[in-house]
Amino acid sequence: MLLVAGVVWAMAGEFSSSLPRAELWRMVREGVAGYTAVKGQEAGELIQASGETWRQLRNGPLFTGGAIVLGGTLALLALFYLLRGQVKLEKPRTGIKILRWNLGERMLHWFVAVLFIILTVTGLTLLYGKAVLLPWLGKAQFAYWAQLAKWLHNISGPLFIAGLVPMILIWFKDNLWRPGIDWAWFKALGGLVGRAHPPAERMNAGEKGWFWLLMTVGALLSITGLLLDLPLFGLERESMQMIHLIHGVSAFLVIAGALGHIYIGTIGTEGALEGMIHGEVDLSWARQHHDLWLEALEKEGRFSLAKSDTRIERPESFFKPEK
């Protein structure tokens, strides 16, 4: 390595002595700054070559890659729905309601979810609007929407972060990885395929995966978004280009995750959405999807199994019948 660097260095030296002008313009191409009387960041830089790289990456791989990831996720979900259909409740509803999400949790969830959707729609407008919306809206109409979209995206970002932080706090414990239970859940594909019913706690392994995706990649998305949002930190163009690309890539990862999450939470699973809306789920649902959580609740005496007319396949001893 050092040797190669040395040779290159020597060559460069030779180059510079024999062709001073070539050397000068090579420096300019590499973005070496000169002096300028004009005030402004990077004003002394005659040529910044990374701009063209950024353009190629954004208009190329990010644009097409993003479309493939989104289109592919949607296609897979549609296919899955056609093949598997909705995961139905296997036992009739008991009428016994179990509190799954309290009011605070539900409000936080929907706050973040609504902002997420706004951010997705407005963010995608900036990347794909020119190709998709502009042709049928016309330039003036589209610019009107794009201006609004940019503004919405810019202000929703910090609000989204304000929702993400308490979310990590209140759901952190429920999402800690429990190797025994969670790997088994994954091996059984969460009961989505086939009829197996892998045990799960309050959050199953799939939900935990989504939580951690949001808390890691989503955090990256938030930090890069914040840096793009406030062109205040004196970051140079090259950093902004990099930050923008990281923002774009993480956006697609998180959107793909969200599509899966939304699918499973709505049409994918009977009875899941009502929990996040009303806060309560039916006992049958809880037993089918989150049996270990139910057992724990039982132990705490939070509900009575005796009132239920369904029986469980798991050993009776797990449950303490009401006196």
Binding site: L24, W25, Y35, L46, G51, E52, K139, A143
Partner: protein, 204 residues
């Protein structure tokens, strides 16, 4: 139709910044924005070189390629102009441009960007030629008056040339051919890179 171009001859530019000032004055450019700037490489050292730079009206403009609202348009003279009514101030053109041409007046709190501003080759914008509105948004439309950009017109050493690319190239080629005796001053050779190789100059 002619393809308009700028060319700055670094053998002639004396870094007087008259082009910068002329541009600001002629176009009444927004506060904090300089559409043109002069950069000196190796300032203060022997062989320093100055170049006046603004939008180069690229043939395949990166700014237009990344603009999310497609607000750029290319005139029949090959100029890359933009429509401020459509611009959303996202700054993408500024990230993409190799020459740092697009600039933004600060508009409101948190450094929010206003509408992008850049060199128009003194050709205004989409509004009616020489209308009040065009002047307010883009500055003077000298091309519509049959004149060339003021920066180049008033350059005292005629380092900065603007106009039909073919004519400009001819002027520059002519200069290069007539330039000082390059055989005698190889170290400060004024000939373009590769000249020595091509024309048998042993020393460069």
């Amino acid at each position: 139709m002619a393809r308009m171009k700028f060319l700055c001859d670094d053998e002639r530019c004396i870094e007087c910044n008259a082009c910068v000032t002329a541009c600001k004055n002629e176009n009444e450019v927004p506060w904090g924005v300089n559409r043109r700037r002069v950069v000196t490489i190796n300032d203060g050292q022997a062989g320093e070189k100055s170049i006046s730079v603004a939008c180069m009206h690229c043939t395949d403009p990166p700014c237009a390629a990344v603009c999310p609202v497609d607000c750029f348009y290319i005139t029949e003279d090959g100029l890359v102009l933009h429509d401020k009514d459509i611009c959303i101030g996202c700054g993408y053109c500024f990230y993409a441009c190799p020459f740092g041409a697009p600039q933004f007046p600060q508009d409101g709190a948190f450094g929010v960007r206003g509408k992008m501003d850049k060199c128009t080759f003194c050709a205004g914008g989409p509004e009616e030629d020489n209308s009040e509105e065009e002047f307010k948004k883009y500055g003077r439309n000298r091309l519509a008056e049959g004149k060339l950009p003021l920066c180049a017109e008033m350059c005292s050493t005629k380092a900065l040339l603007a106009g039909d690319g073919d004519i400009i190239a001819d002027i520059f080629r002519d200069r290069v051919v007539r330039r000082a005796d390059r055989d005698e001053k190889p170290a400060t050779a004024t000939a373009p890179w590769g000249w020595g190789k091509a024309y048998g100059d042993k020393s460069s």
